[in-house]
Symmetry: C2
Subunit: 105 residues, 2 copies
């Protein structure tokens, strides 16, 4: 497999954890379709307390271009209007931080 793995961390506002969980129990089908169209696979989101970790694999060959494509999808933009306010730093540009992979087997 030639996928590039991503592991990202973010923090939720304590009062928004339930809402974030509820949103992700029923993600809009168009959002799921866009994820696939943008070459992301094996995408999971996990939480522990107020911490969120997203893990996914990118199978395309231009990650930045696919991320721009995702950010140009009107349904995804609408979805983010619901999810981004759940994060502590939602009004900054970066709310997920990339982690550094130090081991893989």
């Amino acid at each position: 497999m030639t996928a590039k793995r991503f592991c990202q961390r973010a923090f939720l506002k304590p009062e928004k954890i339930d809402e974030y969980r509820r949103l992700h129990a029923a993600v809009w089908p168009e959002v799921l379709k866009t994820i696939k169209d943008c070459n992301l696979q094996n995408y999971s989101i996990s939480i522990l307390g107020d911490m969120v970790v997203a893990y996914f694999e990118y199978t395309g060959d231009d990650y930045e271009a696919d991320m721009r494509k995702m950010a140009a999808d009107p349904v995804t933009v609408e979805w983010w209007k619901h999810t981004k306010p759940c994060f502590v730093r939602h009004d900054e540009k970066v709310y997920y931080e990339d982690m550094e992979e130090i081991f893989y087997v």
Copy 2:
């Protein structure tokens, strides 16, 4: 794929981050073999500051038994003598905490 995904979080002692990174740049071959023999795949470890996230997929049908098998492997036990002291809570039983998956596609 019928694999069960695991996402786990732990914290390193600040003065041990470099050592933990160095250890994982050259994991002993026997440790890698045991990981595979215990039905773990697509195993990555990522760090951000003092936080560590392990992601892996379990493809067997008795996770507890395979974890006991891993803990009975002498080389893995020796390896853990190097890695466990890097963690903040290394002298407690649990140094990695399971996160809860709330989304998967």
